[in-house]
Symmetry: C2
Subunit: 151 residues, 2 copies
């Protein structure tokens, strides 16, 4: 999905530690760090879809900290050379990444694991209802088939 | 535990959302926000203890995003009016809080839930081995009995 203009995928590593593990997600001295606005966790129940959302100002920094989650991005930006493209990836244990999503790109999620998937977002701006836009998972302009999961 | 000098406990709220929930943890425009240095997740297996650690520079911003975790703090700061005091609290679903722990305070954790507890830390500085100090859970100078759980 890093062929969508401005989207970056940075591999992460879960480190074994006595009594558990540690997943470093983002450092302020990383070359891909921009700005900190808000941290939140979003839980997605097994099988559930959360879609679609896009932001006018916020850049998202997504990492899946538990379970597995399908992340789908759709470039709806006027003037973008990758406008109209849809890309997806599976995130979580076994394929940990930080996905950086610039403003104007639609994001959607589907839980792939039997347990609840937990998504950490480190957004560049604090949450503001007025700078985000939502659409239904079945939105025709985006035209994504959530039932069409690869086996 | 907010009677330890410099420790703050800020209540958090898990919000119901279609297909899951959302837990806002920290905003850059909050009065208690200081600085962003690094975000990581630490997983603690059922029954496991992770202790002790203290930092010379970092302030920790701890929130439990899954399961329940016992957080124990011990003030080991020379010159602190609360030096020598130990305080504990249970964090997680049902009692969500952000706990802000200044440098010099020892932190320890024990998982209280049947599933792995996941701790989010939004530290004010990127991780640096040289600014942290570790001790065993049974360290005599701290003198905490991890087996002494209240029923």
């Amino acid at each position: 999905m890093s062929d969508l203009q401005g989207v970056q995928v940075v591999p992460l590593r879960r480190l074994a530690a006595a009594g558990g593990w540690v997943l470093p997600v983002l450092r302020a001295d990383a070359p891909h760090f921009r700005k900190f606005g808000e941290a939140y966790i979003s839980a997605v129940a097994p099988g559930a879809v959360k879609a679609w959302v896009r932001h006018r100002l916020q850049t998202q920094n997504y990492a899946v900290v538990q379970g597995r989650l399908r992340l789908v991005l759709h470039d709806g930006r006027d003037g973008s050379p990758t406008r109209g493209l849809t890309r997806e990836t599976a995130l979580g244990e076994g394929s940990d990444s930080l996905v950086i999503v610039p403003p104007g790109i639609w994001s959607g999620f589907q839980c792939l694991s039997e347990r609840e998937a937990l998504l950490l977002n480190l957004a560049t701006e604090p949450h503001d209802d007025h700078e985000q836009e939502r659409r239904d998972p079945s939105d025709a302009a985006i035209g994504f088939n959530w039932a069409g999961l690869q086996p």
